[in-house]
């Protein structure tokens, strides 16, 4: 597909055009916390400050809480009302790591089973990627086969080439978005060359490197090394920060709320870091903290690849940046013992 470009000053106009028929979402800071929110129709200042959101874009498809349906009972019997969410939306500025995160979550909610809530939002959304220009010191996407300019998981990809953005049309959906506008121009060969050198330079800006080669095998080997896992788990406080803010974590819990004869069923994020996550009537297989920490690491780098042939980590670095105790997954991945040498426990 063609490669186009647009002047940075024209972005507000472009968003304005899309906003007429789609709900446009852009990065926005509330109380210094950035997330993707409905665009106000004016503000494009995020182009200056935006590095990545705190709340990953998965929240736009799997919100921290969501009403699944409402119910009530009257003389005629039970009545169920399912909210219809068919709004077409466009998310502008998603980073490649978060777009990959959505591609991973897709596997669970579209391939394994069709989750109507997720699928309806997903199919009604176009994703416009924005290459990173200033990765954090905690970012390590290049260690996971990604790069700050990766365009595989979006519909259109924007890359900063100075006063303009180079636009790659990745999907038909993306191409259609640009079909009827004079705001974008055909990119020249020189623009393409510029983008190519920018892209190479940007990959070098991701300084954190983690050796992820054969990581699943290494995890398998040390799975029952209780001493190791106890040691690395010691400072974890079992909160939900790393999982809730992970672009690939998708666990949820379901609960009903009932007041008199009516109520609703909700679902909200859940976390394998929580002790009660695996609590069952008779036992809890992950009562101890080290088992929960191990589960999180193994799920991402061993079990998920087993099921879907892809590692459930995009190297976005949120879990490192935002962890209350600086529990750094990259250090754990680099320090895995070769085998279970000491006390062995499954």
């Amino acid at each position: 597909m063609a490669t186009k470009k647009i002047g940075k000053k024209e972005i507000a106009k472009l968003l304005g055009m899309w906003n007429q028929r789609l709900n446009v979402f852009v990065p926005f800071k509330e109380e210094n916390i950035a997330k993707m929110v409905r665009w106000d129709g004016i503000d494009v200042s995020f182009l200056d400050w935006y590095r990545n959101t705190v709340i990953p874009c998965k929240a736009n498809f799997l919100p921290s809480m969501e009403r699944m349906f409402s119910f009530k009972k009257n003389e005629d019997g039970y009545h169920i009302e399912i909210p219809q969410d068919e709004q077409k939306q466009l998310i502008f500025g998603i980073r490649p790591c978060d777009a990959r995160g959505i591609a991973m979550v897709d596997k669970v909610f579209t391939e394994t089973c069709e989750d109507p809530y997720y699928v309806s939002k997903r199919k009604n959304t176009v994703l416009i990627g924005l290459s990173c220009t200033n990765p954090y010191d905690s970012c390590f996407c290049t260690s996971l086969g990604l790069k700050p300019t990766e365009s595989a998981d979006v519909d259109l990809m924007f890359t900063d080439i100075g006063d303009e953005f180079l636009i790659e049309e990745i999907t038909d959906k993306g191409e259609e978005l640009l079909a009827a506008t004079s705001l974008v121009k055909q990119a020249t060969k020189a623009d393409g060359a510029k983008a190519k050198s920018e892209k190479a330079a940007l990959s070098d800006m991701v300084i954190k490197k983690v050796d992820t080669k054969e990581i699943a095998k290494k995890l398998q080997a040390c799975f029952s090394d209780k001493d190791y896992w106890e040691k690395v788990a010691a400072k974890c406080i079992s909160c939900g920060v790393c999982t809730f803010l992970c672009p690939t974590c998708f666990c949820f819990d379901i609960c009903d709320e009932l007041i008199k004869k009516q109520g609703a069923r909700y679902r909200g994020w859940d976390s394998c870091s929580f002790r009660l996550y695996t609590k069952m009537p008779m036992e809890n297989p992950r009562e101890e903290k080290w088992r929960r920490v191990r589960q999180r690491v193994c799920h991402k780098y061993e079990f998920y690849p087993m099921n879907f042939d892809i590692t459930a980590c995009t190297g976005c670095g949120r879990c490192i940046r935002l962890c209350p105790v600086n529990w750094d997954i990259s250090q754990v991945l680099s320090s895995l013992p070769a085998s279970a040498t000491s006390r062995s426990e499954k």
Partner: protein, 316 residues
């Protein structure tokens, strides 16, 4: 001071006076520290003391086995005392290595003032009344009062009052009571409707990650009321009303235990100003019961004692 700390910690392990050392090591990112929980003698060489040792390590006392040598700033030591009062920890099982604290730097405040993110800053140095920040070779000086955590500005005992070993010399941190209570004052000045709207807005952002609860040394319940399902006190769904109830009940539960370490607010990934609730609660506790948390290990815990002279308007 660090050398002295490492020497003392090593000695505790060598002499068998402690089975584990709980302290701080350098974090993996710039201007961060991380809890170090170890029984390896060699590892105590990585213990650090700097203005970024933000965690309240008392949190780990209830889970680390055996006798624990704990590095404690003023607030940490108050939390240790509070845990002793509540019979969560035995005084004989802890060796408190007191570390006089000069106040901790709130990196978020520095970021705001210099309009750069943590990783874009080259150096931050606490130098008495000033904090020197270096970005791209350029030095900027910020008033220390503007970059310390608010709870540090209000800290009355930055040097631990309860300790077995004191490393370094007692300090007086740069305090500013007024500044430390500024946001609480702003809330007090609001009419109830404004205050209600304020908290509604703030707590709408809560995602129930429970970092505030998990990081809190005073939250030592085996099972939190939030997780009770029969009866269900509050919904596990992150609606603002339930989020508000969670915080209100949590704060009442830690009344008389909260030592104003500020951790709940620091760790909140949604920047909810939780200290405005917990500090207000501590102020009320002081006003009504003349009680400050974590001061006297031999005194009964607030909620376990009753004096006839106490305010009666608490009982409805």
């Amino acid at each position: 001071m660090e050398q002295e700390l490492r020497k003392e910690a090593r000695k505790l392990l060598d002499e068998g006076k402690a089975d584990h050392i709980v302290g701080f090591a350098r974090g993996s990112l710039k201007f961060t520290a991380t809890p170090l929980i170890t029984r390896e003698k060699e590892e105590v060489a990585s213990l650090v003391i700097n203005p970024f040792i933000v965690n309240n390590l008392a949190k780990f006392l209830t889970e680390v086995p055996g006798r624990v040598g704990i590095v404690a700033k003023g607030c940490d030591s108050r939390s240790v005392v509070s845990l002793i009062q509540d019979n969560q920890v035995s005084r004989d099982d802890v060796v408190i290595i007191g570390v006089p604290c000069s106040g901790l730097i709130d990196i978020a405040k520095v970021e705001q003032l210099v309009n750069k993110d943590r990783d874009e800053i080259d150096d931050i140095a606490l130098q008495g009344e000033k904090v020197a920040v270096i970005i791209g070779g350029q030095k900027t000086e910020l008033p220390t009062k503007e970059v310390l955590f608010e709870h540090c500005l209000g800290c009355e005992s930055p040097t631990p009052q309860e300790y077995d070993i004191l490393v370094g010399i007692p300090t007086n941190a740069i305090g500013d009571k007024e500044l430390s209570l500024r946001r609480i004052k702003q809330l007090e000045d609001m009419v109830p409707e404004q205050r209600w709207a304020f908290w509604k807005k703030q707590l709408s952002r809560c995602i129930r990650c429970y970092a505030c609860r998990q990081v809190c040394p005073a939250c030592f319940c085996e099972r939190c009321f939030v997780e009770e399902s029969q009866p269900q006190w509050i919904s596990p769904v992150s609606q603002w009303q339930d989020n508000l109830m969670f915080q209100v009940i949590r704060n009442i539960h830690v009344a008389g235990r909260c030592t104003d370490c500020g951790e709940c607010e620091r760790v909140c990934p949604q920047n909810i100003p939780l200290r405005s609730l917990s500090k207000k609660m501590s102020e009320l506790v002081d006003e009504m019961f003349h009680y400050q948390a974590g001061i006297d290990k031999d005194a009964p815990a607030l909620m376990t004692a009753y004096e006839p002279v106490e305010a009666e308007d608490l009982i409805m």
